[in-house]
């Protein structure tokens, strides 16, 4: 049978292929707590929490092409909202998560406001400023946030059912909470990108001038995307608070922003599965490096890895994986019967003439 196998889109084989993938993933999700010791499960949960934050960042910096250098700040706002509310005011965790997300949405919109008039580099500066501002504010209000010595004692008691009994019960409970949150985040991003806003986002990213001409309300689209992206990162922060049990300003500083950015590139910008791959790679890097090399040399390797990835794998693991899968199975798109195909996930540098905005006659001719 000559590879790649061509499957017409929408046919039964195609549906089988999709459902098969979902069932496979569901099986993997439910089997993990049994196959893996409790500490590894909490590490996997930690990676999944990071994945949620990267999914949030990916919506803004991947799909919408808006450079953000301060996403750790939204993660931090979510984390400390949950942390302070549960420890100092004994609020139930789900409520704190919602409050955290709303707060992040508002801050995201506020930070996004200059984004309406600014381009790339200035926006990177605004977000960098917010990202650097948050840790020093946390340290200053240490009465509330515990400052540098950290905030302790956050936890989320699992519901009483037998499934979550035993000492490892809370770890398993938090694992499922994180999985559900990640699925929710992915579904939200998937829906946004396949909705009217999604098409506007891609149009704005690839070629802003004509997109505005077609009546896209750039202000609305940008603020919604910024707010959503921030609140997803805030949700990740909230879960991190109860999952890690400890919050310090260093945990939500520039290093986390850099890790989120790098996770997004490793996984693959503007792709749906990229963030999850990237988050796992970034989370387990320190775990491996201590076996790999005893000393700060691994910091040099990490920096080199970032540069290498930008050159070697611009589309990241997801890009690499999809091209691998395409060698095996190709879903042949059928002429659309009304349903429109989602936008092409290939990331395009905003404002790049070679790829984006040729002079008039090129488009007329072809």
């Amino acid at each position: 049978m000559a590879l790649p196998v061509h499957i017409p889109a929408g046919s039964r084989a195609d549906i089988g292929w999709r459902v098969g993938r979902v069932v496979l993933i569901a099986l993997l999700v439910f089997a993990t707590p049994y196959l893996v010791p409790s500490f590894r499960l909490s590490q996997i949960t930690g990676a999944l929490v990071l994945a949620i934050a990267v999914v949030g960042l990916n919506l803004l910096s991947g799909f919408a092409g808006q450079i953000s250098l301060g996403h750790a700040a939204f993660f931090g706002i979510g984390a400390y909202t949950t942390g302070v509310m549960t420890v100092k005011w004994e609020t139930a965790v789900p409520i704190t998560l919602v409050v955290g997300m709303v707060l992040c949405f508002v801050v995201g919109v506020l930070v996004g406001l200059p984004a309406l008039r600014l381009q790339g580099m200035y926006l990177a500066l605004v977000t960098l400023a917010v990202g650097v501002l948050l840790p020093s504010l946390i340290r200053r209000f240490d009465g509330l946030t515990g400052g540098s010595s950290g905030l302790f004692g956050m936890e989320w008691e699992p519901p009483g059912i037998a499934y979550f009994a035993g000492r490892g019960g809370e770890t398993v409970w938090l694992y499922y909470v994180t999985v559900v949150a990640l699925v929710l985040a992915c579904v939200v991003v998937w829906n946004v990108m396949h909705s009217r806003i999604g098409r506007a986002v891609v149009a704005l990213r690839d070629n802003e001038a004509p997109a505005i001409m077609t009546g896209i309300n750039r202000a609305f689209v940008r603020t919604v995307v910024f707010g959503l992206s921030a609140s997803i990162a805030g949700l990740a922060g909230g879960i991190f608070a109860v999952q890690a049990g400890i919050l310090t300003p260093e945990a939500v500083s520039l290093l986390l922003t850099i890790n989120l950015l790098v996770a997004m590139i490793i996984g693959g910008r503007a792709s749906y599965w990229g963030p999850v791959f990237g988050a796992f790679v970034i989370y387990f890097v320190p775990v491996w490096t201590s076996d790999l090399s005893q000393g700060p040399i691994s910091g040099v390797l990490f920096g080199a890895l970032v540069i290498l990835l930008v050159f070697v794998m611009p589309n990241g693991l997801a890009g690499g994986l999809t091209s691998l899968v395409r060698r095996v199975v190709v879903v042949v798109p059928q002429p659309p019967r009304g349903a429109t195909e989602g936008p092409s996930p290939v990331p395009v540098e905003p404002g790049d003439p070679a790829a984006g905005n040729p002079p008039l006659e090129a488009r007329l001719v072809r």
């Binding site: 092409g65 580099m121 500066l125 501002l133 920096g303 970032v306 050159f311 540098e349």
Partner: protein, 296 residues
Amino acid sequence: MELLIARLIDGVNYGVIYGFLALALVCVYRGTHHLNLAQGEMAMFSGFIAYALHAAGLPVILAILGAVAVSFVAGGVVERVLIRPLGAHADYSILLVTIGLFLMLNAAAGVIWGGDPLAFPSLVPDRPDDYIGFFGTRLRYLPLLILGVLLAVMGGLFALFRYTRLGLAMRATASNPESARLLGIRVSGINALGWMLAAAVGALIATLIAPTTTLTTTMMFNFLIYAAAAATLGGFDSPLGAVLAGIVLGVVENLVASYVGFVGSDLKQAVALVILLVVLMVRPTGFFGSKRVERV
């Protein structure tokens, strides 16, 4: 009254450092419209190179000039190898590459020169009693030297831009890269020159402040944040604006930190960042920058 003058002088001393590094950021931005996040770490690394040259026996002045020369060349190499291949419009990838460079240089300095702060000698006498009395407060020689060098560098750049063929080519490239190319100007060479000048200016400020801050791997990161704020306030494409904005930022921040009770010196930087955020909302091109925001 003495206290106010002392605060103003402290503010100016800080501001001169912010302006100096902001000048480096502007040298890169003018031609390429790229933000070099690794500018601080490149300067820090040059500081350590000067330390190594001095340890190898060179007198301080030669060690500094040596480090500046090495950085000048290294700036070109970085542009040629890491930045140019990405293409002029790959803003995002270039930003990520500078972050990678940031991480590498920071870790490498730690690996090579270890974690402890290293003392670096000053070019001018810097003993406690070396100062000029000025209204009851002390004008130390080192800050004056830094101010002097900054003015000299700016004078040099001004002359380069105003009176030389190369300077004209740089200004043409900054204003309209495609037209510059059509006039036979090697735009890629000009951009590389921007990175080289920036690296040299960075090396200069790092080696000049090393005596007060001592050489550590984290010495320049804070200053990069201030320099970015100063360049934004002053307009990223105007060297004079960035330096003036840096000095204004240093003075305002120091006065606010000293007189507003709530703001201790640990929140000084927060003040600078709040100023940055407010200005970006009001006047995105900053006070002196040309009115060309990428707006439809």
